[in-house]
């Protein structure tokens, strides 16, 4: 028999804050809505930045993308700080268990030498690329407009840092501190890594937050993650007896599956806003994904040799389909 506890009931005066009632009607708002919408200063900004008096403190005109309402770029995961940290805390528990599993059972030592060498060669220099991604997402959070977009970029930036740290730990586990030095040296000097490093450094001087979003989160990650973590680690290395490596990169695979829903949603909404947005996005995605593909080819060749070109072509085709689904045909 259900038991209803009796409580003193009093009538609320209103259901939510005015700015949310204005957007969604006078009904209880979700915590995502309360923590995201309209909490950035919008009017009567006091001073122009001394670091660049040509822009305002919060400025929609520093990007070529034009939105009537920047808060339209919402996050389908509805991440605010709490749901974000709870999700990542669960994932880091799994990652921790995986690292510990590989370590305590000596799985790293049991890896065939050529697989270990390939894993170190392909994965460890990517920690620097992940640091670059962190820089770009901090930038978009700092200079982008509207909290629905920018808070998600801060979470993304911290994820990028987390991934750089997992890749470093992978290097320490499969190799040692010298493996990190070797990888850094390759990142700085090995000809095969230079196109990718150049890509990241070119992004470091890009100051249009939405172009940076496309270059990093859409184009580069859209090719790099499926190519490296699905195609190379989960398929190729695992089949050859390197599933221990896949355990150490599970965080990255899961992360990409989750975050692509968000990047797709941002892209789709921005493209649907206007034809001119669509054209700008198309131009950016074409240019950056083309560069990303050629930058990734020599990296893929470390693991896949002569098959690298074909593997990359498959990823490029899948990426095109994905962009088209988001409303940007390339």
């Amino acid at each position: 028999m259900p038991i209803d506890l009796r409580m003193v009931t009093i009538e609320p005066q209103r259901q939510t804050f005015d700015h949310l009632a204005h957007r969604f009607g006078d009904k209880p708002a979700s915590r995502y809505q309360e923590g995201s919408y309209d909490i950035q200063a919008a009017e009567n900004l006091h001073y122009l930045p001394t670091w660049d008096p040509d822009q305002k403190l919060y400025d929609t005109s520093i990007t070529r993308i034009v939105m009537e309402d920047w808060y339209a770029l919402k996050d389908p995961r509805q991440f605010y700080y709490s749901t974000y940290t709870l999700t990542r805390a669960r994932q880091q528990e799994t990652a921790e268990a995986n690292f510990s599993f590989v370590e305590t059972r000596g799985l790293a030592d049991m890896l065939p030498d050529d697989l270990r060498a390939t894993a170190l060669r392909v994965l460890v220099p990517l920690r620097h690329a992940a640091w670059g991604a962190n820089q770009h997402n901090s930038f978009i959070c700092g200079y982008g407009y509207g909290v629905t977009l920018t808070q998600a970029c801060m979470y993304h930036a911290m994820d990028n840092l987390g991934i750089a740290q997992y890749l470093s730990r992978l290097g320490l586990l499969l190799g040692d501190a010298e493996a990190l030095d070797t990888a850094k040296d390759a990142w700085l000097h090995d000809a095969a890594w230079q196109p990718l490093r150049r890509y990241v450094e070119d992004c470091l001087v890009l100051r249009d937050p939405m172009e940076l979003f496309v270059a990093q989160n859409v184009a580069l990650d859209g090719l790099l993650y499926p190519l490296v973590y699905e195609r190379i680690v989960d398929n190729d290395l695992s089949v050859r007896g390197g599933s221990a490596v896949a355990m150490l990169t599970q965080f990255m695979s899961d992360w990409f599956d989750e975050t692509r829903k968000w990047t797709d949603a941002v892209l789709k909404t921005a493209a649907a806003e206007s034809e001119s947005n669509r054209a700008v996005l198309q131009e950016w995605i074409r240019a950056w994904s083309g560069r990303a593909a050629s930058a990734l080819l020599p990296v893929a060749a470390f693991a896949l040799g002569a098959q690298a070109g074909e593997a990359l072509e498959e990823q490029v085709a899948a990426f095109k389909l994905r962009a088209e689904k988001a409303g940007v045909a390339i």
Partner: protein, 506 residues
């Protein structure tokens, strides 16, 4: 059989170094000046970013783990508070004025600080510094959101909370903290760190945070006090970062010292003016008081601040200019502030009141040299007018300070009977100031402060043209509900009626 050589175990410090600052590299396809375009123009010289000492060695996995634990607890308590009508456990609904002021004036500042830290987390030229700033950016998003969530349920039952987003941008008193945060964000990355990381987080946070959260605990506000406890360890990290940052700047080059000193002077006074809001809250708005503003100042300002500046003396840093003026103001400011809020309470989105007699007694005992002499007579006069049915309202236009944006309501440091007012002519215009401190800040950067948006003059321009009703609509202030005296307000009536429902059988 092959024997494995055991791997060298890395120390915590070395390991953290590999997991953070070793991620960065010297760019070669672009110059460092192109990648970090804002680190030089303020004149701060950094010779070696590697000398930065990581104040806390927190990797992301540990961050997620600790913070998620705190989040779980926080929302469990907030949910219970909502479900059980926790608002009826307040000492008195007067207390809510402090919360309303906090939500309109301070929580948006938390968000702005987060945005600022994301910017400097990208603009600084060293990975260690960047990572520390990025974590604070994330924390500040947390603080803005948990504050809004903690106060959300109060909004459903009480007036004055409902339009904090409009009020952040349009209210005359919120433009005090808004201009503070806008000022910090429009400064370069190093000054931002002195403004927010050092002055606000290190020197002033204890004066804002400890009294506010203790006030919540003393007055039965479980929601806010839970936020306070939950944010405490974040704040400890932020204070450490602020201090590390200032030491780093001072140790890098002796030429940095005068620049840093000028910023300390500026941001101490800027912060002290923002804290005027806290002084009124502590001395007047808490039904059950924690300590007086004077007592808080003695502990957190004089003792802690004094020790800090003694510690910094070895770098050639002296106590902030205008510190003495601050000390002289402490026994007066809360009274001057609350008297001002009361006479303009038709234009505040929270309630004020004439302190009842027991409160006046308490104020006399806490301010033996000033309250009975200067302020009790004014309150008595206001009480008399209110009793006669002619409560005093000041419909005159307040002159605002061009720097701190407060109305010119304070007195001369050495003469509490003389209103303090300074003027400066600059390029054919006259600018007004509340104090020497604010005047000096203006004179150091006049081109910045002439840009300030002043809410009072805005009331007399298009489209409002002095129409008070139109102004209220524009600020989303509902006349007769959000504003005015607490006595006779809807909040007072509802709170008493609901509490009656909850605690009696009538």
């Amino acid at each position: 059989m092959e024997t494995k050589v055991a791997k060298k175990k890395l120390g915590l410090k070395d390991r953290y170094k590999l997991l953070t600052r070793d991620l960065g590299w010297e760019p070669s396809y672009h110059t460092k000046d192109e990648v970090f375009p804002y680190v030089k123009y303020e004149g701060i010289k950094i010779h070696d970013w590697e000398k930065w000492e990581d104040p806390f060695r927190l990797t992301m996995d540990a961050y997620w783990k600790y913070q998620a634990e705190k989040e779980r607890k926080f929302y469990a308590i907030i949910d219970a508070h909502t479900q059980n009508n926790g608002h009826l456990n307040l000492t008195d609904a007067r207390y809510l004025s402090a919360l309303k002021l906090f939500l309109q004036a301070i929580s948006p500042g938390e968000y702005a600080a987060g945005k600022g830290f994301a910017r400097v987390g990208r603009e600084f030229g060293g990975v260690g510094t960047q990572v520390a700033c990025q974590m604070q950016a994330l924390d500040e998003i947390r603080h803005a959101q948990t504050q809004i969530h903690a106060m959300s349920n109060y909004n459903r039952y009480y007036n004055g909370f409902h339009s904090f987003a409009d009020q952040r941008d349009r209210m005359w008193y919120t433009s005090v903290p808004r201009s503070f945060f806008d000022d910090a964000m429009s400064a370069g990355p190093f000054e931002f760190m002195i403004a927010i990381g050092f002055s606000f987080e290190y020197v002033l946070t204890n004066l804002l945070f400890v009294p506010f959260m203790s006030g919540a605990a003393y007055n039965g506000d479980m929601a806010t006090v839970t936020f306070g406890f939950s944010a405490q360890s974040d704040e400890a990290r932020h204070m450490t970062l602020g201090l590390e940052c200032i030491k780093f700047m001072l140790e890098q080059d002796p030429a940095n010292t005068p620049i840093v000193q000028a910023w300390i002077d500026k941001w101490f006074w800027r912060g002290f003016r923002v804290l005027g809001l806290v002084s009124a809250m502590m001395d007047y708005m808490l039904p059950k008081r924690v300590m007086s503003w004077r007592e808080a100042w003695n502990i957190y300002g004089v003792e802690n601040g004094g020790a800090l500046f003694t510690d910094l003396a070895r770098y050639g840093i002296r106590i902030p200019k205008h510190w003495d003026d601050a000390e002289k103001a402490v026994d007066h400011m809360s009274h001057q502030f609350m008297l001002a809020l009361y006479q303009w309470n038709f234009g505040t989105c929270f309630h004020t009141w004439i302190p009842p007699e027991p409160d006046m007694e308490w104020l006399s005992s806490k301010y033996p040299n000033t309250f009975d002499k200067y302020y009790r007579p004014r309150w008595e006069h206001l009480k008399k007018l209110a009793k006669e049915g002619k409560p005093f309202k000041n419909f005159g236009l307040a002159k605002l300070c061009q720097t701190c944006q407060l109305p010119i309501i304070f007195t001369e440091p050495d003469d509490p009977t003389m209103s303090c007012h300074r003027e400066v002519d600059y390029k054919g215009n006259k600018y007004h100031f509340c104090s020497d401190g604010c005047q000096h800040i203006f004179e150091n950067e006049p081109e910045k402060y002439v840009q300030a948006w002043l809410p009072m003059p805005a009331l007399f321009q298009e489209p409002l043209k002095g129409d008070l009703g139109a102004w209220m609509n524009w600020t989303s202030l509902i006349d007769g509900k959000d504003n005015g005296d607490y006595v006779g307000s809807q909040d007072e009536r509802n709170f008493q009626q609901w509490r009656g429902l909850a605690t009696t059988n009538t």
